[in-house]
Point group: D2
C-alpha cells in the first residue's frame, strides 16, 4: 500500500450554518489528497492531463464520524490500496489536530484517453513508481 499525508486549514466558506464543514465540501479535500499523493510519486495530475489522460471519478463513499470545524488544521491520509489497472482506488482518512478521525472515504477513478474518451490502462511510469509498494 502507498500512503501520503497532507495538511491544510478549513476555510470559512467551507462551513455551513450548522457550524461544520458542509458535507459536500469534503470531496474537494479528497481531491487535494489524491493530487498530492500522485505528485509525491512524481505524477502531478496536471502532467497526466497534458499527456492525454483524464481521471474522472467513478464512485465516492464517505462516512462522516465527527465534523471538521472552521480553522481546524486537518490532516488527510490518502492511500492507494492496490495496483491500478483501468481503475484506481484511493482511500482517505481525515483527522483533526487532536487525532480524532473525522471522515473516512474512498473513491474509484477511471483512466480515460482524452482523445477517444475511452477507458485505458494506467500509464506504465505510474505502475513502475507504485510497484515497490506492492511487492
Amino acid at each position: 500500500m502507498y500512503s501520503h499525508e497532507t495538511s491544510f486549514r478549513v476555510r470559512y466558506g467551507e462551513t455551513d450554518q450548522m457550524g461544520f464543514v458542509y458535507y459536500g465540501n469534503y470531496a474537494q479535500y479528497f481531491e487535494v489528497g489524491r493530487v498530492e499523493a500522485l505528485r509525491h510519486l512524481g505524477f502531478p495530475y496536471r502532467k497526466l492531463e497534458a499527456e492525454g489522460v483524464m481521471l474522472p471519478v467513478h464512485d465516492l463513499q464517505v462516512r462522516y464520524h465527527r465534523p471538521a470545524l472552521y480553522d481546524d488544521l486537518v490532516t488527510l491520509r490518502t492511500s492507494i490500496v492496490s495496483m491500478p489497472g483501468v481503475r484506481i482506488v484511493f482511500a482517505y482518512e481525515l483527522r483533526n489536530e487532536q487525532g480524532d478521525l473525522l471522515t473516512e472515504a474512498s473513491t474509484t477513478l477511471v483512466f480515460v484517453n482524452s482523445t477517444d474518451k475511452r477507458p485505458c490502462r494506467a500509464p506504465q511510469p505510474l505502475l513502475d513508481a507504485l510497484a515497490p509498494y506492492f511487492p
Copy 2:
C-alpha cells in the same frame, strides 16, 4: 416508498476544466432534492431547524454514470426508502433531459436534538406524513 422530483439547471461555476460538473458539486444537488422532498411533505428543513432538530449527514454514496454538463436541465428524483427512526435514508437518481441516468446516490442522515446534540427520533408529524407511503 415516497418519491419527489425536482428540476434545475447546471450552473457554469459547478463545472470543472474537464467540462463536466465537478464530482463534489452533486452533493449540493442531493441536498436540494431532499429539502424539496421534505417541503412537499410539509416539512421545510428550515422549520425543522427552527424547532430544534438538526439533520447532519452520516454517510454518502455516489455512482457517477455519465457527466452532467453546463446548462443541462436535470431532474432529480429523491426517495425516502423506509420509515425513518433515528436515521433517515434518501436515495437519488439524477437524469438529463434525454432521460439518461447521470448519477445514483444515497445518504443517511441522523436526527439530532440541537440543544443537547444527541440523536433523537424523527418528529412524530413527519412520521405521520410518511405513514401513508409505507402501508
Copy 3:
C-alpha cells in the same frame, strides 16, 4: 436598458457558519442572472461558447446590504445597461420575498474569440436583439 428577473432558493451549502450566504457565493447567483437574461434574449451562453465566443469576467463589484438566508426565495434582477462593444456590463439587484434589497452588484465581461483568445466585438445577432432596448 434591458432587464430580466429570475428567482431561486438559497441552498444550505451556500450558507456559512455566520448563518448567512457566504459572500463569495453570490457570484454564482450573478452568473445565473446573466445566463438567464441572455437566454431570454435568445442567446443561451452554451450556444455562444459552441460558436467560439468566450465571455470571461473582467471585473466584479458587490455591495452587501443585508444577508440572504437559507431557503430564502430570492429574486435577481439583471440588467444590461448599455449596448455592448468588446465589453458588456451587467448590473444586478438581489431581493428577498419581502422585497428587501440584499445585494447590488455589477460585472464587466469581455467577448473573446476562443480560437485566438483575443478580444472581439459582441456577435451581431446579440446587438440586433438588444437594439430595441437602446433606441
Copy 4:
C-alpha cells in the same frame, strides 16, 4: 501599511470549463488571505468570533487580469491599508509563480457585536497590534 503573504495551490474543483479558476472562487482565496494576515498579527478570526465579534463583508471589488490555472502555486499578498475604525479595508494582489499579477481586489468588512448585531469599533488589542505599522 501592514502586509502579509500566503501561498497555496489552485484546486481542480475551483476551475470551470473555461479551464480557469471560476471568477467567484477568488473570494475564498481573499478570505484565506485576510485570515492569515490577522493570524500573523496574533488575531485568529476564530478567536474574534469566540469573543463575540463578527466581521461580515460589506463590499468586494475584483479586477481579473489573467486567469489562475489548475495546480498553480499562487501567492496572495494581503494588506491592511489604514487603521480600522468600525470598518477594516483589506487589499489583495494574487500572483502566480512567474510573478504575473492575476487579480487585484479589495474588501471592506464591518466589526459587528454578535450579541446585539450592531456595528462596533475594532477590538483595542487589534488596534494596538496594528499601531506600529501606521506611525
